[in-house]
């Protein structure tokens, strides 16, 4: 059940013989009968990969994670998580996954250590084991020296790392990370990326994460699903996604031109998807694997007796991919969101 799938790959499903650790089928969530937060999405996560959900505010990222971790019941559709049905076998799912929520969820009145042990108790992990694991995890996230302090004295980065440690206490095969670096400064963010890579590489964990940071999705994720207004727009590796919008952009300027149009000549080079003439001697080329195409273009032109005066190669960023598929830029939203998050966190604490 759920292991073998056939599909064209573009909707996020996978090919034959692939083992899916998360297999989502037609998942829909409507809040209060009105807000359609997740709209009939289907996708698969392969074992061992870092799979990213990239999308703006309110896209339905957290809702999807909450459904997959059995916190919310879907309105329709279902999913298999580590081979268990989220609706019929919620306890099996809970046992085999770890979750780190978008919000800080630790108990502020307890110490970091007490928080970890508490969560371990809820998994039914015997104390002899959990004490050892707590110590290991605190070491992993560099919180050993702060372990005995109340969480209310922690900084944002320390809280995130504590959340991560709590999410790992049951040694899950699959870890859900909801915006793991939200509200962190750049330095701490990079450190968290390091932990996430370590989990994948050293502990063979599969990671399902959400983010709205383009760099994060780009550098961390093996595959990305772009989600917008509850729908999955596109799935693929960062390279595939970038290639899907026509690939890299190569700009060449040819010397000593006779005014002859070389567009069709250049278009004959493999992997070139589009050539546009700009001015009398300039050409703008869209191509997959630009670094390989560029030398070919130079060679071809030279063999025809033209000299390339100037050449430049631009790799498209995920932002352009995002723009292409959703019609909006994510980059502008990033700054707003960080601010919003900081505000929310202060408000909460003030209320508490």
């Amino acid at each position: 059940m759920g292991v073998l799938r056939v599909s064209d790959g573009s909707d996020g499903r996978l090919n034959f013989d692939e083992k899916l650790i998360v297999d989502v089928r037609g998942l829909t969530k409507v809040y209060n009968g009105r807000v359609k937060a997740v709209d009939n999405i289907s996708f698969g996560v392969r074992e061992g990969e870092i799979f990213g959900f990239l999308g703006p505010n309110g896209a339905g990222k957290s809702t999807t994670i909450k459904i997959l971790t059995t916190l919310l019941r879907p309105t329709s559709g279902t999913a298999l998580v580590v081979g268990h049905d989220i609706i019929r076998q919620p306890n099996e799912v809970r046992r085999s996954v770890g979750v780190v929520h978008q919000e800080y969820t630790a108990d502020e009145d307890l110490t970091g250590y007490e928080n970890i042990i508490l969560i371990a108790d809820l998994y039914g992990i015997p104390r002899e084991v959990s004490k050892k694991r707590a110590a290991e995890l605190l070491k992993l996230v560099d919180l050993e020296s702060a372990a005995g302090r109340k969480v209310s004295t922690y900084s944002g980065g320390m809280r995130r790392r504590l959340e991560l440690a709590c999410g790992l206490i049951n040694n899950p095969r699959l870890l859900f990370l909801d915006e793991p670096t939200l509200g962190l400064d750049v330095q701490t963010r990079v450190a968290v990326w390091g932990y996430i890579r370590k989990l994948k590489e050293e502990l063979d964990m599969t990671i399902f994460m959400t983010t709205h940071y383009l760099e994060e999705a780009d550098s961390l994720c093996d595959r990305i699903a772009i989600i917008d207004r509850g729908k999955i727009v596109r799935v693929g590796s960062p390279e595939e996604l970038k290639a899907s919008i026509g690939g890299d952009v190569i700009e060449v300027e040819v010397d000593g031109s006779t005014g002859e149009d070389l567009t069709s000549v250049i278009a004959g080079v493999g992997n070139v998807s589009e050539v546009k003439r700009s001015g009398s001697t300039g050409y703008r080329i869209k191509a997959k694997m630009g670094e390989e195409v560029a030398p070919l273009v130079i060679e071809l032109l030279r063999s025809r007796g033209y000299r390339v005066k100037r050449i430049s190669l631009t790799k498209p960023s995920l932002d352009e991919v995002y723009l292409e598929y959703t019609g909006r830029s994510l980059r502008e939203e990033e700054a707003d969101r960080d601010q919003l998050f900081a505000q929310r966190a202060t408000l909460r604490r003030a209320r508490g």
Partner: protein
Amino acid sequence: MTETFVERADWKPSSNPLHGLWALTNRELKKWYKEPVVLLLSLIQPVIWLGLYGKSLNFGALFTGTSFNIPGLNIPKSVLDQLGSQIMLSTFGTTDYFSFLAVGMLSFVALFTAMFSGMSIVWDRRFGFLDKILTTPVPRGSIIMAKVFSSTIRGLIQSAIVLVLAVLLGMNVSKITPIGIAGTFAALFLMVLGLSSVFVMLALRSTNWQSQMAIMNLLNLPLLFASNALFPAKFMPTWLQYVVKVNPISYATDVGRQLLLGSPGLNTLGFDFAYLVGFAAVFSAIGIALSWRYLSQ
């Protein structure tokens, strides 16, 4: 399918289903016993009530302290005094109002802690802690019962402290026995267990602590006044007496007055206990049942 994913857990889960329940209960209690200030504050209100209300409403003095005289009749003071204490005895079941009220206060304190069990679940929801524990395999009923038990334990300890204070402030101790104390606290236990379940249930879906506060304030005083905790029910209007008769606080207080003060009871002890057992069992069962359904959306 399951076998294609190797279980990674390198431990055998504890076979004790109460493992998580105790961990969660202890979490709540820790916040309380590790913060003496919180404990102290939660005792101030009943102490004020005891001290001000109990001592200022000196009903006994109305009859015994003053020397009133009806012209033409020359009643000796000793007769008046005796008459006064007879009236007190028949009204409150004991000769001083302070002792009467002190027993009522035990229930009041317990009621108050029970109310906060609902609040704490709203906090947990707001701060995301509830989401975190809902993603663990801990039984949903344990989450609810941890709230109920922790507030029950707190309620009983606070009641015990109030009892000690009341004795120090002059409560009548002539009839107190260890068995009486044990019986009283057993009744209080059942009462808080049931009440906490009710308040936790009311808070199951709530994300709004203001509305939860409003519910508490709405129910707090009516529950207290529509019981025999502050004043004997027999002088209340009939409709109110019906409310008193279903109010579990009346039953716990009735047990306390019989066992600690030797007052004649409204009901037999057996009936009081039967009612309280039923109340606690029914509402904690409903609470557990609803928790599976309503704790998550």
